[in-house]
């Protein structure tokens, strides 16, 4: 541990342990990635019977009764909306927490609680809430005979209950990141801007946002990827149309061909592209910040 350059024996043991852990972390996923390129005669396990894109082709053609591409589009759209809302709402809340407002401790506690309360409980609660709303609206429709409530079925859906369920999972991460960011944010920059006559909005727009942009990209990364893969909170709160991970969960018991690996490779691919773009963007911003001598990007990803 000293700074004398020579590594203690424990370093090598721990490095080996770390290596094994990384193998454990990535090994299985890499295995399915390889198996998704199985030949047409290949099965769910090794050996590989040739290499082909056969199963991707089958996936492209559709997976039986499940419209996998519709689910793909739905999940992607939901992920984008969750991403935008997570960044916007966490950023605004982050600004609010820097000032003092009544109930801030309670709000913080609620956000952390939302992270810790089991997802099935949150999902059940949202499901119940929307069912009760539906019953209320239906009762109202019957009583009033109102024409616009005619044909009402449910308020549950991807962009109502589903969106809410995802936000209860992504927003706490967003807030915690904003805390870490504003923790080390030097208010002198804002004071300087104000002294130079910038309005509050101009200060936020031209000073605060550019400085914390890498962190906002990090929040966006959490927002999209956590929504893209969400299962537990969506399960009871998504309504009639499933997201991709929910379809995938259902398929684990019915599909017995490498098609499911192809689907896995595809969804993991989307996640990895998003992660890589976010990290690359952060790296570029940091380099640019460093060149210009600002401390932009001193925060975390």
């Amino acid at each position: 541990m000293g700074g004398d350059g020579r590594r203690p024996a424990s370093f090598y043991w721990l490095a080996a342990f770390f290596g094994l852990f990384v193998l454990f972390l990535y090994g299985p996923t890499v295995t399915t990635l390889i198996l998704s390129f199985q030949g047409p005669q290949g099965g769910l396990t090794f050996p590989l019977n040739g290499l082909s894109l056969f199963w991707f082709g089958k996936l492209w053609a559709g997976l039986g009764v499940v419209d996998i591409w519709a689910a793909f589009r739905r999940s992607f759209a939901l992920g984008l909306v969750v991403m935008v809302l997570t960044v916007t709402l966490s950023f605004l809340a982050g600004l609010a927490f820097r000032k003092r407002f009544r109930g801030q401790d309670f709000l913080f506690l609620v956000a952390v609680a939302s992270l810790i309360v089991p997802s099935i409980v949150v999902s059940l609660g949202i499901g119940l809430e929307f069912r009760l709303v539906d019953e209320g609206v239906k009762a109202l429709a019957e009583r009033t005979g109102s024409p616009w409530l005619e044909g009402y079925t449910t308020a549950m859906g991807l962009f109502t209950s589903g969106l809410g369920a995802h936000l209860t999972w992504t927003l706490p991460f967003g807030l915690l990141i904003m805390f870490a960011v504003f923790n080390r944010f030097n208010p002198a920059y804002e004071e300087a801007a104000r002294d130079l006559g910038a309005s509050r909005w101009q200060t936020v727009r031209h000073v605060v946002i550019p400085i914390i942009l890498p962190s906002l990209i990090g929040v966006a990364l959490f927002g999209f990827t956590l929504s893209w893969d969400e299962v537990a909170r969506s399960s009871q709160a998504i309504g009639g149309q499933n997201t991709l991970p929910l379809e995938l969960q259902g398929l684990t018991t019915t599909v017995t061909t490498p098609e499911i690996y192809a689907l896995g490779t595809l969804t993991t691919g989307v996640s990895l592209v998003v992660i890589a773009s976010a990290l690359a963007l952060v790296a570029v911003l940091r380099r640019r910040g460093a060149r210009r001598g600002s401390d932009a990007g001193q925060g975390l990803v």
């Binding site: 099935i120 923790n183 537990a232 969960q249 896995g264």
Partner: protein, 324 residues
């Protein structure tokens, strides 16, 4: 992304929330600006608060209310009955010392909690210790930390399925074992068993231990360790008497994450247990699918109560507030 990096999963000083007050000698203009700024704070926090009100607090309150309602095959009926709670623990006292279904389910979930907690703590602590104390370059530290967190941003379901080609009857592990003459028949308990459930949990949730523990560790003042070293402490003594006590808040946060995730799980137990293993979360899910909402709500309230008790116990043991 190193250093306090791991604000990711649980670090932010409460001081940050008290910032931004001008000096005592604030002019009137500043005071007015301050007032405006403070008012702005409310509308800035409002959308965030509204989401949690609509999709967290109200649903939880409704769950508690509905857990006292009655139900039949067609509808749920407002009432004030303890019937649903009675049903959960039906016959549990009478059949003792034999365990009723509810106790068996909770015991099975508790077993997973303990095993997964122990394993993720051991692995997570070791990994975090290596990255925090043995890696000297900040860049390498950041890179290794990222390597540990990237899987967290990919799909859990896919990470579970990916064990199938390894652990299945004709999977790689069995092929290797039989091939090496270590067994004449493939092992059946590798997949769709308690073993595979624990393995998948450890695979999925070790990150939740690594990040907060790493975050605690990088905040430890290195001079404390040098002082211990100079005073003649051995490596193990430093670990036991300096590092572990100072990493306790991180350990506590990681433990809360892991234990609550396992307690409420139904996806991992479902997929990795071949839909054969019971868990509290699964019971709730099944009751929801049969539209027995009050029964599901009662189970959810019991689960929530146990989770809260656990968190209270943890916060009594370790002062987490320092980390939050």
């Amino acid at each position: 992304m190193t250093g306090d990096a791991a604000g990711l999963l649980g670090a932010a000083d409460s001081e940050s929330r008290a910032e931004g007050r001008p000096s005592a000698a604030a002019s009137e203009g500043l005071a007015a600006q301050e007032r405006r700024g403070r008012r702005a704070g409310y509308w800035q926090a409002a959308p965030f608060a509204l989401v949690f009100l609509l999709f967290f607090l109200v649903p939880l309150a409704l769950t508690i209310v509905v857990s006292f309602w009655e139900y039949n095959e067609y509808e749920i009926i407002p009432a004030a009955t303890l019937q649903n709670y009675g049903d959960i623990f039906d016959g549990c006292i009478a059949t003792l010392p034999d365990l009723c279904l509810a106790f068996k389910t909770y015991l099975s979930t508790a077993k997973f909690c303990v095993l997964v907690w122990g394993l993720t703590l051991l692995i997570g602590f070791t990994v975090a210790y290596f990255v925090a104390f043995h890696v000297r370059s900040i860049t390498v530290q950041t890179a290794l930390f990222l390597v540990c967190t990237i899987p967290f941003w990919t799909s859990n379901v896919i990470r579970m399925i990916s064990w199938v080609p390894l652990l299945g009857r004709n999977g790689l592990v069995n092929q290797a074992l039989v091939g090496a003459g270590l067994g004449d028949r493939p092992l059946e308990w590798l997949l769709f068993s308690d073993f595979s459930v624990v393995l998948a949990f450890v695979h999925l949730y070790t990150t939740f231990m690594i990040v907060p523990i790493f975050n605690s560790m990088v905040r430890i003042d290195r001079s404390l360790i040098e002082a211990a070293h100079d005073a003649g402490a051995s490596g193990w003594q430093i670990l036991w008497n300096v590092v572990i006590p100072l990493a306790k808040p991180g350990i506590a946060i990681g433990s809360i994450f892991v234990v609550t995730l396992v307690m409420g799980d139904f996806v991992t137990v479902g997929i990795m247990g071949g839909q054969q293993i019971a868990s509290v979360g699964k019971v709730i899910q099944v009751q929801m699918s049969y539209l027995q909402f009050p029964a599901a709500a009662a189970n959810a309230v019991v689960l929530l109560g146990i989770v809260l008790l656990f968190i209270v116990a943890m916060t009594r043991l370790v002062d987490i507030r320092k980390e939050l």
